[in-house]
């Protein structure tokens, strides 16, 4: 945003654009921007994830263009945090740029481990005049980047930018068009439609109805949240009191139980990988989860369903509310090469590189990529995604430090017990309220 102001107030730049000579000048400025950092080696911490698999293929081009080398330390997504915390807490860390899960942003800022981005964006020696912050999907930017606003994580007064989305995602419904056509069925528009459709697909499609995550811990909680929010539920009320065991929470969990019964066998053990594989290998007729599925569906090495899949909005309950999550990039406070790290971050989020990463199976971050005519022709799912992004629920889950413990060790146990039939939905959720209350008291959100 600052760069736009800068550009608008600079008459010469505007004139150059009008006369069509902006590109060479911008290119020469770009050379100046990178020259100082040529020969530096950036160490980045990124996950094994389809979006970052695609990003890795772009890095040689970055080095070729800028002379800045990049070394990537790749880890399983949920194990990155331990190492990042240890590295970023040292006086001089090894990482120059870290990829983080949205849940970690508040904690990293609270512990003063990552840098605010405003100074970089204001630095004319670093910021690219062509870098357009308003082109980033607003919901992604607010969800991944802002800290300090209402509730600590929402946009509003006090919020500051600490990271940029890269590998951000929302939820979407993918379904087997061939099966639906054969059975003369319509894609479900609402949860009521879903409830009716699940047993029909189970009986007639010759495969599970809807695939889902279900493994104990983070995975099954994630799956339940996907249904809770559209049904109008929340984990906490405005005073941080647990309300997840109310009628809506129970209804969402009972729906999840039905998904398990009618879905591919083994859902209670499915992580994200198994959940996706079941759909990609033709074991389930529907998928309702992250948009990260776009790339793998087209990947012949992973998918048997390329050309058979259509997309629809995440079904409506009492409202539309799709997942807000995924990954972002931030610069550690103790980075040895913070300026070069910013240059990489900015380069990755340039219009051309966002198109490039999307073509390689990554997730688009920019509005311009989603409305790029060539890309839409190639990836018609972007039409549905653009519509889905209007319903991104930024308060989809509480992004507070206590959430990880609640997510894995409280709700993640209760929901797992409910979907394996050990406990009824109401009993399972009621049983975990004391533990969640205790965690929130310990965190200072509730009085003891």
């Amino acid at each position: 945003m600052q760069r736009r102001h800068f550009l608008h107030s600079t008459g010469s730049a505007a004139a150059l654009s009008v006369f069509g000579t902006g590109l060479p000048v911008a290119s020469s400025h770009a050379q100046d921007r990178f020259a100082k950092y040529k020969g530096q080696t950036l160490v980045i911490s990124v996950p094994s994830h389809p979006h970052y698999d695609a990003m890795m293929k772009l890095l040689p081009e970055f080095t070729k263009q800028t002379g800045i080398k990049v070394e990537a330390d790749r880890l399983q997504i949920l194990r990155m945090k331990d190492k990042q915390l240890l590295e970023m807490a040292k006086p001089g860390g090894d990482y120059d740029l870290v990829s983080y899960v949205v849940m970690w942003k508040g904690e990293y800022v609270k512990k003063n481990l990552i840098r605010e981005l405003e100074p970089f964006l204001k630095n004319t020696a670093l910021a690219d005049p062509g870098f357009d912050m308003t082109d980033i999907v607003p919901g992604y930017l607010e969800n991944l980047g802002l800290v300090g606003g209402p509730k600590g994580y929402l946009p509003g007064p006090g919020a500051k930018l600490y990271g940029l989305p890269y590998g951000a995602e929302t939820s979407i419904l993918a379904y087997r068009k061939d099966i639906f056509d054969k059975l003369n069925l319509q894609a479900p528009a609402t949860y009521e439609d879903m409830v009716k459709l699940l047993p029909i697909l189970k009986d007639k499609a010759g495969m599970g109805a809807l695939t889902s995550r279900g493994q104990a811990g983070h995975q099954c909680t994630h799956a339940w949240l996907l249904h809770l929010n559209p049904m109008g539920g929340k984990v906490f009320d405005a005073q941080w009191k647990p309300v997840f065991n109310n009628a809506t929470g129970v209804k969402a969990l009972e729906f999840f139980q039905q998904v398990v019964v009618t879905g591919p066998a083994g859902i209670p053990a499915f992580g994200q990988g198994e959940m996706m594989t079941a759909f990609l290998q033709g074991q389930a007729a529907m998928y309702l989860d992250s948009t990260v599925i776009f790339g793998p569906v087209r990947d012949a090495a992973k998918s048997k369903v390329d050309g058979k899949v259509s997309y629809a909005l995440h079904p409506k309950g009492v409202r539309y509310a799709s997942q807000s999550g995924g990954l972002g990039l931030a610069i550690p406070r103790n980075a040895k090469n913070p300026d070069a790290a910013f240059l990489l971050m900015q380069w990755l989020l340039s219009k051309s590189q966002d198109v490039a990463v999307s073509k390689l199976g990554g997730a688009p971050t920019l509005l311009s990529t989603l409305s790029n005519a060539d890309m839409v022709r190639q990836y018609p799912e972007y039409i549905t995604l653009r519509e889905q992004l209007k319903y991104l629920d930024l308060d989809w889950r509480p992004i507070i430090a206590e959430w990880d413990e609640i997510n894995v060790q409280a709700l993640g146990v209760a929901i797992s017990e409910a979907i394996t039939g050990k406990k009824a939905a109401q009993e399972a959720l009621d049983g975990t309220v004391p533990k969640v209350t205790q965690i929130m008291q310990r965190g200072g959100y509730l009085k003891a």
């Binding site: 512990k111 811990g217 591919p264 066998a265 083994g266 979907i419 533990k435």
Partner: protein, 291 residues
């Protein structure tokens, strides 16, 4: 010439000091951490002294006791089966049988594989959709089983994976021990008319009881520390069915960021393992009898 009493202390002192520091420092650090509220990524100077509060809290946590119960059951089953199988395999392969070197190598292979790879391998074997076990069931015309999605079968799955990986350790220890049994004693037993059962259970195994005790002790300690395989296979689920204490500690420390609580539970685990180790050494203590 009589050795002066301070000479052994000079020779052994440095080694004893290094060992004591290397062993005691982490233990004392864990105990110390239990008295503080500290979060990873913040300076230690920010840690708050909370006294015994964390210890009291974790001792009143039902899931800690559930996890301890799961751990004891898991350890009892896997160690018993591994000891029995390992000893049986060693007895079967101790002689000069054709192809013995091949079998010995084959049997110790699982132990050499990284636990993460073991976890992944078994996860794929138990996979409901594409796993080998269900493919075999399918070939027999049976319905697939969601092995890792049901409490009892998931618990059996972690037991099977552990037995597969660690029976070779017992085997290798026992084969070495049996090789050192004095042949003349066995010959004497044979001359006295003892049959195979009598020679094995009344002569051979009692002669290697020290090694059996040490092996039992090592397996017992390891069974309480196993983490990676269960992390990959079930992540402690379904529910808490396979959440053994080391995984609970991991989650408390690195998911919940409750390092003090994790340290306090580690101390509890240490006490339990110490008690069991003491009991195992009561069975046959080579250190005591050497004197």
């Amino acid at each position: 010439m009589k050795t002066k009493p301070w000479v052994p202390a000079v020779y052994l002192g440095p080694a004893v000091l290094v060992m004591a520091l290397a062993c005691l420092y982490p233990v004392l650090s864990a105990v110390q951490l239990g008295f503080f509220n500290w979060s990873m990524g913040t300076p230690w100077s920010n840690a708050q002294w909370v006294g015994l509060e964390t210890f009291q809290r974790v001792l009143h946590e039902p899931s800690v006791w559930r996890s301890l119960k799961t751990t004891l059951l898991f350890a009892a089953i896997v160690v018993s089966i591994e000891m029995a199988l390992g000893i049986a395999l060693a007895l079967a392969l101790e002689g000069q049988v054709r192809g013995m070197a091949f079998f010995r190598t084959l049997f110790i292979l699982p132990m050499m594989i990284a636990p993460i790879a073991v976890g992944l391998t078994w996860r794929y074997l138990f996979d409901t959709q594409f796993g080998l076990l269900n493919a075999l069931l399918g070939a027999l015309g049976l319905e697939p089983v969601a092995w890792l999605a049901q409490e009892s079968s998931a618990f059996i799955a972690i037991i099977v994976a552990d037995i597969w990986q660690w029976t070779p350790f017992v085997f290798i220890m026992m084969i070495a021990a049996l090789a050192n049994v004095d042949r003349s004693v066995l010959e004497a037993a044979r001359v006295d008319g003892a049959n195979w059962w009598q020679i094995t259970f009344l002569v051979k195994l009692p002669m290697v009881m020290h090694i059996i005790a040490i092996t039992l002790l090592m397996r017992l300690i390891d069974a309480f520390r196993v983490l990676e395989v269960i992390y990959i296979l079930t992540f402690g689920g379904p529910g808490e069915a396979t959440e053994i204490l080391s995984l609970y500690i991991y989650k408390t420390a690195f998911v919940g960021q409750q390092l003090g609580a994790a340290a306090a539970i580690s101390v509890l685990l240490l006490v339990v393992v110490f008690g069991l180790s003491w009991a195992a050494l009561r069975l046959s203590n080579p250190f005591r009898e050497k004197h």
